[in-house]
Symmetry: C2
C-alpha cells in the first residue's frame, strides 16, 4: 500500500491525460489505421491471417485512440459469453471465498466474467434447466462441493456445458481436489500418536451416506485410522457442525456435555474448530491441554491462534480450476483429476492428553 503524503499521491496529480474518454469504436480505429473493421477485429484477436505490418498499424491506432472493445457487442456478435458460473453452497465460508478469489484471479486476467450463484438444493438443478442467469449466458460452470452421488456425476457429465469440479472427484468430470481420506488420516494419526484414546469427529453434515463426497471421504479416513489403532468411535462422538462457526460451537458443547467427553476432536473445517474454541473456554477448559483440536483448511487465522490443521492450498485450487476451465473452453484439456497436496500443520491446539 502506497504511502500518501499530504498534498501528493495519485489523487492529487494533474489531470494530464488527453482523455477523450473511451468513445472510440472499432470503426474509428479502422479509419485511423486505414483498414477495414474486419481487419481490426482480426488483428486484435490474434487471427493468423493478418500481416505483421498491418497489426502494428492497428495497434498504433488503438493506442492513439485509447480504444477499448465493447465486450457486449463482441459477445453478442460472437455468441460467446466469456462468462463462467461459479456455484457453491455457502458463499460466505472462508473456503468458498478463497476458491472464488483464486478463480476470479485467473478469469479476470483472461477477461472472463464470473457469475456467482448459490447452490442450495433447488438451484442446483436449476442451473441446467430453466435458471434465468445460467441458462444461456454461460460458457462453463465451476462447481464447488457438489456432494452428489455417482448418479449425479453421470448426469453432470452428460450435459454439454463444460464443467470443472472443485474439492471432490467425480467420474468423467474434470476436477481439482485433495485426497480427503488421507487428510483425515493425517489428523487422526497425529492425535493417536499424541496418545489420545477418546477422539471425536465433527463433520460438516451428519448424512455421510451419499456415495462419495468430501465429508464422507474424510469420515472414512478418520474412522479407518481409528479402527486400525484399535480405537472406537461411538455414535455420540460424531457430531454435525454444519461447516460453520456456530455449528462448531454447538458440536463442541455437545461433545463436552457427554458423560465421557473426548480428549481430542477433529473438525472437518477450521471455522468449525474456531467455534469450538469458545465452547472449550466456556467449559473452563484449555485447548491443547484438556482437549486437543485439529482443523482442516489452514484458514489464515489458524496460524495466529495456533490451531493444528490439515492445510489445503485453496487459493491455488481455485486458480487451477479456472485454468482448466479455460483450457476446456479453448478445446484443449481432457477430463482429468488434479490432486493437490495436503499437509498437517502442527500447532499448539493439539497436545498430549491430560
Amino acid at each position: 500500500m502506497q504511502a500518501l503524503t499530504s498534498g501528493e499521491g495519485p489523487w492529487d496529480a494533474e489531470p494530464d491525460a488527453p482523455a477523450p474518454v473511451g468513445r472510440a469504436t472499432i470503426d474509428d480505429v479502422a479509419r485511423e489505421a486505414g483498414v477495414s473493421t474486419a481487419t481490426v477485429s482480426r488483428a486484435l484477436r490474434q487471427h493468423p491471417y493478418v500481416a505483421e505490418s498491418t497489426r502494428q498499424r492497428v495497434m498504433t491506432a488503438v493506442e492513439r485512440l485509447k480504444y477499448v472493445a465493447n465486450s457486449n457487442a463482441a459477445r453478442l456478435a460472437s455468441g460467446q459469453s466469456r462468462t463462467v458460473g461459479f456455484i457453491a453452497p455457502m458463499l460466505t465460508s472462508w473456503y468458498t471465498s478463497e476458491l472464488m478469489v483464486g478463480v476470479e484471479e485467473v478469469l479476470t486476467h483472461e477477461r472472463f466474467d464470473l457469475l456467482i450463484g448459490t447452490a442450495n438444493s433447488a438451484s442446483r438443478e436449476r442451473i441446467f434447466r430453466g435458471d434465468a442467469r445460467f441458462q444461456q449466458h454461460i460458457d462453463g460452470v465451476i462447481l464447488v462441493d457438489v456432494f452428489c452421488g455417482d448418479d449425479g456425476a453421470r448426469r453432470l457429465a452428460a450435459l454439454d456445458t463444460p464443467i470443472v469440479v472443485l474439492g471432490e472427484q467425480l467420474q468423467r468430470i474434470t476436477s481439482v481436489s485433495v485426497d480427503n481420506e488421507r487428510g483425515a488420516r493425517l489428523a487422526a494419526k497425529h492425535l493417536i500418536q499424541l496418545g489420545h484414546k477418546r477422539i471425536a469427529l465433527v463433520a460438516g453434515h451428519n448424512d455421510l451416506d451419499v456415495a462419495k463426497n468430501v465429508p464422507t471421504e474424510r469420515a472414512k479416513g478418520f474412522r479407518d485410522t481409528l479402527q486400525a489403532a484399535g480405537l472406537r468411535l461411538p455414535a455420540a462422538y460424531v457430531q454435525d457442525g454444519d461447516f460453520t462457526i456456530p455449528g462448531g460451537h454447538r458440536a463442541m458443547r455437545a461433545l463436552l456435555g457427554l458423560p465421557k467427553p473426548p480428549t481430542a476432536v477433529f473438525f472437518m473445517s477450521d471455522e468449525m474448530a474456531f467455534g469450538a474454541l469458545e465452547a472449550v473456554r466456556e467449559a473452563g477448559l484449555r485447548v491443547g491441554h484438556d482437549v486437543s483440536i485439529v482443523g482442516f483448511d489452514d484458514h489464515p487465522v489458524a496460524g495466529p491462534i495456533g490451531l493444528t490443521t490439515v492445510r489445503q492450498p485453496v487459493r491455488e485450487m481455485g486458480r487451477l480450476g479456472a485454468r482448466l476451465m479455460l483450457d476446456t473452453l479453448d478445446g484443449f484439456g481432457t477430463v482429468r483429476h488434479h490432486p493437490m497436496e495436503l499437509t498437517l500443520i502442527e500447532r499448539i491446539s493439539s497436545g498430549r492428553p491430560a
Copy 2:
C-alpha cells in the same frame, strides 16, 4: 443445506423438464404472444404504455418458452452496461470481502454485474483515465478505502461517473461510513476504564498525515481520549500493522520488545489483532491478563476467540452502498453521508492490567 440421502436428492431426479434449452429470442416470444418485439421489450421492462392484458399474454409466452433475455444484446442496444465497479486495496481482507459480498448481494438481485478491481496507487488513477475495463463499460464505481485527501475528493466529485464511497466520508460524494473517531474513543475509553496506563496503538499505516481517512480518524479519536485521560502516547507506542495478520504480528512483537511494553493495545482491525495473539503467545504472555487487546470490525472469528472489538456492520454497509449506487443510477438519491452504528463488544481479550 439439504441432506442428500443415497440415491436421492436433486441430482438424481429424473430429467423431467421439457428444456428446449433457452434458445428462445424475443422474436419467438413476440410471435407466441401475437405482438411485436417492441411490445415484448416494453412489457418486460415495466414500460407504462402496455395494456395489462397484453402484458399478461407476453408473460405467459415468456413462461412457456422459458425465455431469458440476452443481456449482451440488451446492454449493447441500450448503451447501459448494468455493471458497477468495485475498487479496493487488498481484496483479501475480511473487511473488503465482506463489503463485496454485501454489494454483490443487492447488485445481483437487480441483475447488475460487479467488476472487481484492486486499487493500488497506480490503478486508482487508471480507473478514470485509460483503464481498459473501467473506461467505458461501467455505470458507476464503488470505492473502498480511498484514503485520499480533500483534493482527491474534489477530483472524484468532478468526474461524471457516479461514485459511492464505502468506509469513509468525503466532501460532495455519497458515502456509507462509520464514525471512526468515535469507534477509537470507545476502544480507548474501555481500556482506560479497565485501569490501563500504558496503551499502544497499531494503525493500518503509519502515514497518518493525509487530510482525512480511516486510520487518521481512528488515530485522532484514540489520541484525544488518551490525552483527555492524562495519558501519554509515546511514538514507540504507535506501530504500523499494515491491516494484515502478519503485520499485526510484527507490530505486537515490536511493542512487546520495548523496554516498557504496553499493557494494552488497540488494533485498527481484528485481523491485525489476530496476528498479535501469536506474538503474545510467543512471548509467553496471556491475552486479557498480561496484555489486553482490542480490535476493530468484529470479524466472525473475533467472537469464538474472545476478542474485544468495535463492531461495525460491514455487510450491511456493502448492501446500503450498493443500494445507494442503484438509486443514483436511477436518477434518484442525492449526495449524502450515511452513518452506520458502531458498538463496543467486550470479550475476554481485555481485562484489568496485571
